[in-house]
């Protein structure tokens, strides 16, 4: 359809050549295979999460769910540590996003201003950590010295400055806040702060959304900082709880005791499938709505500011 339209617009009738037909055939055939490879593993997890675990392990669940059961999900409801993790992650994501916006965006704006004194040196200050860091142990010791070990704040504050976010936001300000605007505002008696809060921020919703999303998704998915800096169970984020169940095979509740070993293993797998669905669904469902912001972010990041 599209192809035809294009040719008509050009006013020339070009017959699809034989070579192009072969090309298209292979293009769509390979693409279809790729789509299946991409989607099937996720589809399988979903159908396995509410199929009879014996059928799943026997290989009877391939295309459709079988012996529909919600046992796995019901077990999850009883597993309080998972919900504690969920709550913690939501808190970390919310607070972390606010902090990320508060520290990164104003810095990016200041660095985008050509009349900032010592702008070059300050930019270098923010760039160096992209190339050199103290490393795990020195950072750990410093965090420990500040008494932040095993606290809520270690998850949201010490690593909130991200040079990459600053570069992205700075590029945005350079490209979309015209210099004349600042000149005009100055004549009207507007100061730097007033200009930033009343004029720049309302014009920058797109970049604010990009950084907020990146931070929130980053918080949702990360487990490294929690692994290093947290000890108490009540502070654990979702991903650490997931690690205990999915990787370290920590068993849930009483199901390992009475039942036969095989059945216990099947049940454990069923819970794993269910937990994967429960923990990934929010991000996946959110994704189609925010996709354009993610794409914008990737583009902004690739521009040289």
């Amino acid at each position: 359809m599209e192809k035809k339209k294009e040719e008509n617009m050009m006013g020339v009738k070009v017959q699809k050549s034989g070579a192009d037909q072969i090309f298209d055939f292979f293009l769509y055939a390979v693409s279809a295979v790729i789509v299946i490879i991409m989607l099937y593993p996720m589809y399988f997890i979903v159908i396995a999460s509410f199929s009879n675990p014996a059928d799943v392990s026997a290989g009877n669940v391939i295309l459709f769910p079988r012996g529909i059961t919600f046992k796995g999900y019901r077990k999850l409801l009883e597993y309080s540590q998972l919900w504690v993790g969920y709550k913690n992650t939501i808190l970390y994501a919310a607070v972390g996003t606010v902090i990320s916006l508060v520290v990164n965006v104003p810095a990016a704006y200041a660095l985008s201003r050509k009349d900032l004194c010592a702008r070059k040196a300050l930019t270098v200050f923010y760039l160096i950590p992209m190339f050199f860091t103290g490393g795990l142990i020195p950072t750990y010791l410093i965090v420990k010295d500040f008494g932040l070990l095993d606290t809520f704040w270690v998850m949201v504050l010490p690593f909130s400055v991200i040079t990459y976010y600053i570069i992205v936001a700075r590029t945005f300000f350079n490209n979309s806040i015209p210099g004349d605007l600042w000149e005009a505002a100055q004549i009207d008696g507007c100061g730097n702060l007033g200009f930033f809060f009343q004029i720049v921020l309302p014009l920058s919703k797109a970049v604010l959304a990009v950084i907020a999303l990146w931070t929130a998704v980053g918080q949702w998915n990360s487990y490294f900082n929690a692994l290093i800096y947290l000890r108490s169970a009540e502070l654990q984020p979702l991903q650490l709880v997931l690690r205990n169940i999915l990787i370290s095979n920590q068993t849930i509740g009483s199901m390992a005791t009475g039942a036969a070993a095989v059945e216990a293993k099947q049940m454990a797998d069923l819970i794993k499938y269910a937990i994967i669905v429960v923990s990934s669904a929010p991000i996946m469902c959110m994704y189609p709505f925010v996709q354009k912001y993610f794409n914008q972010g990737v583009m902004l990041g690739s521009l040289k500011g």
Binding site: E6, V103, L111, L116, F131, I137, V161, S280, V298
Partner: protein, 313 residues
């Protein structure tokens, strides 16, 4: 003296004091990030000195006695030295070979799709795995590869093939890591290239069509050259980080059976430092790795600047 004459000959320029005063409120905007970075990024850089000291928590970073290169020597002489370097390099180079060209190929395919609906569907389904968290991803890998109950073992079973326990084989580790990495991120990584292709002037294609070029010829002579600058920058970034394989995924996929292939520098740093509390040794290994990374990045950047005028810095 020379500074003064400079300001004198440029009447439009405002004095330093005035400029500082004008920027004053801008510094207020910089302050939060500046302080956080100073405390939690620059202070640890100073903390690197513990790599050259016999660090004990009681004496602190300042108080501990100097040890020179003792811990570097200890690492270089340990049997884990070549293992960790080799494993890091194997995983990293293997990753580049697979995950660098794939997004480019995907973008080229995407660009050739004239059916808009299918193209959209193709793009969305290839990005989707990017949003799976590392922990869940590793959980999926372990579930799928289980030799007794995993779906892959079952599917192979129908064909009469016995599936080995891949997670328990050291030789399979790098392949598992790299191909699952490709599966998860290929779509996402192609966004940049798709954008670069969408910037190609349509009249180029029209002219090529007039000249009788078929799709394949257009792809080779228009699309690929158009992607080269973007691809060069991405390649520099990748080679610059060849010695820094991410900790998260390797650590999760590691087990006692495959550790001879999966112990990389970052997991070793973690184990030495936080599991067995050998702070100075661990800091020394981390520092050594950091220096190599820096050196690689700067040299690759330098070479590409010489060769193609495309560079990062």
């Amino acid at each position: 003296m020379s500074g003064k004459t400079k300001t004198a000959i440029r009447p439009g320029q405002v004095s330093l004091g005035k400029r500082l005063k004008k920027s004053g409120t801008l510094y207020l905007l910089l302050a939060p990030s500046f302080i956080i970075m100073l405390l939690f990024t620059y202070l640890p850089m100073y903390g690197v000195v513990i790599a050259f000291k016999d660090f004990t928590p009681a004496q602190g970073i300042m108080g501990s006695a100097w040890a020179g290169f003792k811990y570097f020597r200890q690492y270089f002489n340990s049997y884990q030295f070549w293992t960790t370097i080799r494993n890091t390099l194997v995983i990293s180079l293997y990753s580049i070979v697979v995950t660098f060209p794939l997004p480019i190929i995907l973008a080229l395919m995407c660009n050739q799709m004239m059916a808009k609906r299918f193209r959209k569907f193709f793009q969305v389904s290839t990005y989707l795995p990017h949003f799976i968290s590392t922990v869940v991803m590793c959980g999926m890998i372990i579930l799928f590869l289980s030799p007794s109950q995993g779906i892959i073992a079952r599917l192979l079973g129908f064909l009469g093939i016995q599936m080995p326990n891949l997670m328990g084989q050291a030789s399979a580790f790098s392949s598992i890591y790299v191909w699952t990495e490709a599966w998860q991120h290929v779509g996402w990584d192609s966004i940049l290239y798709i954008a670069a292709l969408s910037a190609v002037d349509p009249s180029l294609y029209e002219a090529a069509t007039m000249d009788g070029a078929n799709k394949w010829q257009k792809l080779v002579h228009i699309d690929i050259p158009m992607l080269l600058p973007t691809a060069t920058v991405m390649f520099i970034l990748r080679t610059g980080s060849v010695m820094s394989v991410g900790f998260e995924k390797v650590y999760l996929l590691q087990n006692t059976l495959n550790s001879s292939a999966s112990e990389i520098i970052s997991t070793y740093v973690y184990k030495m430092g936080l599991v067995s509390s050998q702070y100075s040794l661990s800091a020394a290994i981390g520092f050594f790795n950091n220096i190599i990374n820096l050196f690689l990045l700067l040299s690759v950047n330098y070479i590409s600047k010489k060769m193609s005028d495309t560079s990062l810095l």
